[in-house]
Symmetry: C2
Subunit: 247 residues, 2 copies
DNA sequence: CGCACATTTGATCCTGGTCAAAAGGCGTGG
DNA sequence: CCACGCCTTTTGACCAGGATCAAATGTGCG
């Protein structure tokens, strides 16, 4: 637990121009001059799988963007019950300007590399750059829409629909970034363990596992390996998730 | 259904200076000059209880703020299952700049009066006024935090905790606006029917009603009337909701 | 190869859903 | 002012989906 920070390391920085998430992150609206400024202020940090990037109680020192890897936002009750309230993929933003802390832990689900700015400095940038502020507002609104979609899943869907809904969400995000797959089907890598997955969709890990087995039995999915899922027919999956067909 | 708009009416406008939500709404960071501009561009509209203010499919023509009343954001599945994904109180913002539609219906839970701007015009204001943009970002972030809190309730809490959690949320919002009640207890008016309430906390209306009865039987709450709840001991309620004591 | 951990599968229990009926509130019209 | 009817809320009886407890199987790593 307390040795977690020993696992982290610092990467050599690259320039914003060659950043892989350049056109999707909070900085994507910036012009060359602004990017040059950012280049001088940013720093990278890498966290090992399982490491807690931010503790809910602790003061927020940096505002960051995920460059590579996957992180989860965990909200935990005192008796140990846990709900994952968000999953961060590359280009997603971490932290809240103007607030000294966030309401949930941020945990690395895989190895994660962040592009970080000191909080005060980033707040200064925000005040000076309408482009960054506008992009952050847009991203926050996207997160809000996603959270509300998830509320529907958590509050009203059956166990099978929840698992199918989770897979649908991953597929949609993958398609959004890589474009439509050539064939009708698709294969995706699960960024989360069964246990994390259960905490994300509001089930126990046993029920989650059972639903995977049944979806496999019913031919909705195939499991090439434990962390990969193949979906032969996307429309089918969306139907199982009680979602509209549109990608 | 289609006669709903016949119920709406238009109020005479008042100046922003005397607006009851002046210091909490999206315009609260504006100076006198900016307010004068807003005064000339805004319009009011009132909706009857039960009326749908915005349909999810329809194009968004205005961006608005709730001045009086309560509205709910409803996300509905094709088979009729419904989840309320947000409750709007006075000063809350409706709509999303830069998007042509919202992902949920907006329904008046009580009579609701909105302060509205035409979408294009408001987007122009946003581009010119960093104060409005900053405030909108802050409000959107608040909404996101609230949605994530609710995900924990929907995904991980028992029926009793959900009802207690709903009441706790109302109490906290009331205290935030009116300050701490003199005595230890508090009385709040429920803005939602049992059915809406059930759709908000992810239960059936029957289970919701049963939990109310049991919380009453156990002395956690009193029901002076069907739409009022008295909480003799707030700390007690928060404990039932599995939430930290802090207000 | 063996160990630790993740995942699957099985058996049983319990919370909350479903279907049904009774009770309580509220507005309208006689 | 009260009676009627409609709608909301409460209560009851029973059922089922998912949780819990437990054990077996699979997987990756030293």
């Amino acid at each position: 637990m307390s040795t977690a920070t020993a696992l982290s390391k610092t990467n050599p920085p690259v320039t914003c121009g060659e950043c892989p998430i350049r056109h999707r992150a909070v900085c994507s609206g910036c012009d060359q001059d602004e990017l040059a400024v950012l280049d001088g202020l940013k720093s990278y940090k890498t966290y090992a799988k399982g490491e807690t990037i931010i503790w809910a109680e602790n003061a927020l020192t940096h505002l960051s963007t995920v460059v590579t890897g996957v992180a989860s936002l965990n909200r935990t009750l005192e008796d140990g019950r846990c709900q994952i309230v968000g999953v961060l993929l590359p280009s997603d933003f971490i932290g809240r300007p103007g607030r000294s802390a966030v309401a949930h832990d941020v945990v690395a689900a895989t190895e994660v590399t962040l592009c970080r700015f000191e909080k005060k400095i980033f707040e200064g940038l925000l005040a000076k750059s309408p482009a960054i502020m506008a992009r952050l507002l847009s991203k926050t609104s996207d997160d809000l829409d996603a959270a509300r979609d998830w509320m529907l899943l958590l509050g009203r869907k059956s166990a099978r629909e929840k698992v199918a809904g989770f897979l649908s969400m991953l597929v949609r995000r993958a398609i959004q970034q890589n474009g439509m797959p050539a064939e009708d089907g698709a294969t995706i890598a699960l960024p989360l363990s069964r246990s994390d997955l259960a905490n994300y969709i509001g089930l126990t890990l046993e029920t989650t596992s059972r639903q995977f087995s049944q979806l496999k039995r019913d031919g909705v999915i195939t499991l090439p390996s434990q962390r990969d899922v193949h979906i032969p027919n996307l429309a089918n999956l969306f139907k199982e998730a009680a979602e509209p067909d549109r990608v």
